[in-house]
Structures are given as C-alpha cells and as structure tokens.
C-alpha cells in the first residue's frame, strides 16, 4: 500500500510538510536575516527590521485564532498591551520591582493567555460578526482601563524607564542589534512550535471548528476546550511580543495599543494568506517593513526631492501619516485580485504532487 504521509515524520520541526524548494527558500531567508545586521550597520535599519519582530509575533498569534480556528477577533492589540504592561509594571521604577526579563517572557505569556481565556469563555457561543464586535469592545476596554487606573499604569503617560534585558550580565542597552537577534530567535522557536501544532491533533481540531463546528463536535472534538486553547495560545504570542516591545522601547503608553494595531495585524495575515504560516510570515514582513522602513525612508527621499526642486509641498510630505490609507488600498487590491493571500496554503501545491504521483 502506498502511504502519502501527511508529512514525513523523519524530518524534524515538521519540515516534512514542505517541498525541498520551499525548505531551501526558507533556509535562504533565515540565513539572510541572520547576517543582516552584520552587513547593514545602520542602526535605524536594524531597529526597523527588529520591530518587524513584534508584528510577526502578533501575526502568528492572531493567525491561530483567526486563521486556524476561524474566530474573527478584532481587539487583539489588547493582549499585546497586557503583555507589555505586565512586564513594564513588574520591571520598572513604577513599583520599584525589577523582575527578570527572561522569566517575565514566560509570565507575560501566561498572563496574556489567562486573559485570552477570560475573553474566550463568555464568547464561546459567538461567531463571525458577533464575536468580532465583542472582541472589538474588549480591545477598546483594555486601553481605557490602562488610562483609568493611572495609579498603577501611569495613565496617559504610561510607564517609563522599563528595564532592558540582560544576558550574562550585559545589558541590551539602546543598541537595536541584540533585540534584533532576540526577536529572530523567538520567532524561529515560535514558527517551529506553530508548524508542529498546525500538523497535529490540536491543529486539525482548530481547522475542523473553522470549517464546520457542528461536524467537529460530532467527530468528538470538545469545541469549548479547543476554542479556549486557541484563544489562550494565540494571546500568549501577543504577551511575548509585548514584553520584548516594552523592553526595546523602554517607554509604553496606552495609545500604542489601540484599534489600528489590531487592524494592522489582521491586514498582515489576510495579505499573506490566512491560516498559512509562510504566508503570515510574508504578510507580516511586508506590512512591518512598509510601516517601519519603506514609508519613513520614502518620505525622506521625497523631502530630498523637495529640497532639489524647492517645493515646499514635497518637503513636508510625511507618508507615515497616510499608512492606513496605503494599507487600506493594499487590502482592497488583495481582496480584488488575490483573495487567498500572497502565499496561500501549501495544500494547493500538494494536490499537484498527488496527481503526479498517481500518474
């Protein structure tokens, strides 16, 4: 009997699910990113690419909830805020506490996961539009609470002088390179874990719920537990992203965790390919680089052009102010011309292989 294994169990990290070409391409990107700070010494470039790290982590987490399990969550930035504030409150002069950064990555992930369950439990019966609206509300409530409880959170001023991570006694400081490699390492680990999950019992249960919740129940899937796992695991990624974000910036305030962040992350996963990890990576990368690198740089070039032609209008252009206009235009174009995203699921390719093998 011929066995078309879903993935070859012989390969580690679930790599068996991908073709050799895909693995090589992925390896090339990994190597390129690993050496990037060595080649481009410009700190602002390294910092911008490092900031893509938190966008990617958020995209990974949201993809678990929206992409795999099919639960449309609109207030995802709230979990990012919860992760960031958990770290900032326990590792800053705010309360004079200075918890260990590495420990806090774990703790913030757990705290965000717990809030994921808190949001998930009352919304279990909701789907689609209704769930989106409730989670939208949650996303609005959290920054409001951060403003109201100013005794603990610093209110609109936020929390300053957040501790920077230390490794073997060396502080990360304000140099972006250590943060870059930290994000790099965390993202590699997260991708491996998520890829494993995607091709496992739990990952299939998530997708079964997305495809047909009633049929999933009939297959013996405890949909309550499985959805709560999706909420908590998805939120944990935001918690981790929040810790590193707060540590790199050393200053956080509620207005960094508002609705536009949730929309940006949602856009990233829709642009890349909902539910497909390589797609999420591409989508998150594109959105983050546009946001942190391309738009500010392009603004600078336009200013330079304005200097040359003595045009005041060009000299004062700030493309970053139009980023949501640009993101919106991208979303419309993607929906019109490639609704499945830039890098759709590998299943389509797998079909072609099955035909070849059968021939």
């Amino acid at each position: 009997m011929r066995l078309f294994a879903q993935r070859s169990p012989a390969l580690p990290f679930g790599l068996g699910a991908y073709t050799i070409g895909q693995i090589l391409f992925g390896a090339l990107i990994v190597v390129a990113l690993a050496v990037f700070p060595l080649i481009d010494a410009n700190a602002s470039h390294v910092s911008a690419v490092a900031d893509a790290g938190y966008v990617l982590l958020l995209a990974f987490g949201l993809n678990v909830v929206v992409g795999y399990t099919g639960l449309l969550v609109l207030g995802y930035a709230a979990f990012f805020a919860i992760g960031a504030y958990t770290y900032a409150m326990l590792a800053s002069p705010q309360f004079g506490l200075h918890a260990n950064f590495w420990l806090m990555i774990v703790i913030s992930a757990l705290v965000a996961a717990a809030f994921g369950v808190i949001l998930g439990a009352p919304t279990l019966r909701l789907r689609g539009d209704y769930l989106a609206i409730v989670t939208l509300g949650f996303g609005e409530i959290v920054p409001q609470l951060l403003l109201i409880f100013d005794k603990y959170t610093g209110g609109p001023n936020g929390i300053a002088a957040v501790d920077q991570p230390k490794l073997f006694g060396h502080s990360f400081g304000f140099n972006p390179t250590p943060y870059y490699y930290l994000y790099f390492a965390v993202i590699c680990v997260c991708m491996i874990l998520l890829n494993n999950l995607r091709h496992s019992r739990l990952g299939r249960a998530w997708m079964a719920i997305r495809e047909d919740e009633l049929a999933a129940q009939h297959m013996g899937i405890n949909t309550t537990l499985t959805k709560l796992l999706a909420f908590s695991i998805g939120s944990a990624f935001a918690g981790i992203a929040g810790v590193i974000y707060a540590a790199k910036l050393t200053l956080i305030s509620p207005d960094e965790f508002l609705f536009p962040v949730s929309v940006m992350i949602l856009l990233a996963i829709v642009l890349g390919g909902l539910g497909n990890l390589p797609g999420v990576l591409v989508g998150g990368g594109i959105i983050a680089l546009l946001n942190f690198l391309v738009l500010p740089q392009a603004s600078n070039w336009i200013h330079a052009l304005g200097d040359i032609v003595h045009s005041g209008a060009l000299q004062s252009v700030d493309l970053t102010r139009y980023r949501f206009l640009i993101f919106g235009a991208i979303l419309v174009l993607v929906m019109l011309f490639r609704p499945e995203g830039l890098v759709p699921s590998a299943t389509v390719r797998a079909e072609l292989h099955a035909e070849k093998e059968a021939a």
């Binding site: 009997m1 011929r2 066995l3 078309f4 294994a5 879903q6 169990p9 580690p12 990290f13 679930g14 874990l193 494993n196 999950l197 496992s200 019992r201 739990l202 990952g203 299939r204 249960a205 997708m207 079964a208 495809e211 047909d212 009633l214 049929a215 999933a216 129940q217 009939h218 297959m219 013996g220 899937i221 405890n222 949909t223 796992l229 695991i233 699921s345 299943t347 797998a350 079909e351 292989h353 099955a354 059968a358």
Partner: protein, 253 residues
Amino acid sequence: MALLSLDAVTKSFGGLTAVKNLTFEVQPGAIVSLIGPNGAGKSTVFNLVTGIYRPTSGSIVFDGRSIGGFKTNAVAEAGIMRTFQNIRLFAYMTVLENVLVGRHVRMHAKPWDDALHSPYERREERATTQQAMELLEWIGIARFAREWARNLPYGMQRRLEIARALVSEPKLLLLDEPAAGTNPAEKADLMKLVQSIRERGVTVLLIEHDMKLVMGISDYVHVLDYGEEIAHGKPDEVRHDPRVIEAYLGKGA
C-alpha cells in the same frame, strides 16, 4: 442486550412535538432503518441520540450507559459516529486530514506533545495516518488523500464522510440519507458498502428514503409519521402494512 435503546423518548419544541413516546432497540450487528415521510421526526431522532437535543422525557441507553443529555462530543467518544444528510465535510482540509479528525477521540497527544512534536505524538501520528490510509484504501478513495475534500466528486464525498465516521472504530454508525443524490450504480455500491461496514463489526442505523435500498439491506425497519412510530418489523412485513402505505401515499379514495 440491545446496543442502543430508546425508551419512551419524547422531544417537544414549544407546542410542537417532533418525537412522541418513541421506543425502539437496535441490536448489535444489525442494520436498522428509520423511514417515514418528510417531517416525520427521523432527523430529530438522530439529533437526540447524538446529543444535539436533550430529550424532553424518556431515556436513551447506549452500550449500557444512559446517554440522554450527553454532550455531542461525549456521544462520539462513547462510540456513536454519524454522517449528515447534507454533506458536512471539512471542505478546506485534505481528504486525509478529514479522516484524521475523525480519529480525534482515539488520539491522546496533549497540546504540548503537539507543539513539541514529541516522540509520543510522532508515534501516534504515524500510526493514525497509516490507519486512515488503510481505511481510505478500503473505501476506495486513497488516491485522493491529499486533495481538498471540496474537490472530490459528490459520490466520493459521501464515501469520505463514511470513512471519517468509521476511522474511530465506533460501535454504532448513523447514516443520514446516504443515498441522497446518488445514481443507481452508486446506490448498488452503497448497499455493498453498508453491508461490508456491518461485516467490520459496526452496527448501522440509517435514515433513508430510497425504498429499494432500505428493503434490500435492512434487518429491521421502523416507520415514523408525525413523530410517532406507526409500524416496525422486517422489511417485508413493513412493506405491506396498510398504515405505512397510507402514510406514504395518503388514504385511498
């Protein structure tokens, strides 16, 4: 002892009684059919057995356990699997993945096993994949294992639904109008398939409108009309029962 027994089961929705005082048994190893005109309450019976509805009164005992009011996933775990009248596959998952989901209740990898791809998870995954492929081979759609379920032709989708329901080795299989929309050749294949499912040791309870199929394969037939049982017996007995003829054709002038 009966594998499944319903005792005086009633289900009302507000003022409407969908199933009234229904009592019947399914013996292990049998093929039992539920027939009756549209709206007779057949699907409600399936929904009661699978825990979608809780009986208003009466008891449902499966394999020695009272399952009335069980959650749907617990019913599946107890060993009852089903197919649906309108095919409900996981459309954007592969054929193989659909069958693997069917095996969910018999797998024991914990979330951390899944995330870490632990040796236990690896072993279980390999064994399950092999089982799933053997079943797909048996049911004749193994060559489509890596296709999306939605890409299969209709008849194959019906077979995939049955494979998905069988892979967890249930004791009882509920088939909801398996012959709906199939052509005569496919119907003949389906009859053979249902019989070979029984040979695998799985008891079958089916809802079906196609009388030729029902009469051809059933050991026992229960006829419902307006939520009540109006006749039961071997196919030949039921076929000539005047109440059944009346329910289906209306009273003669």
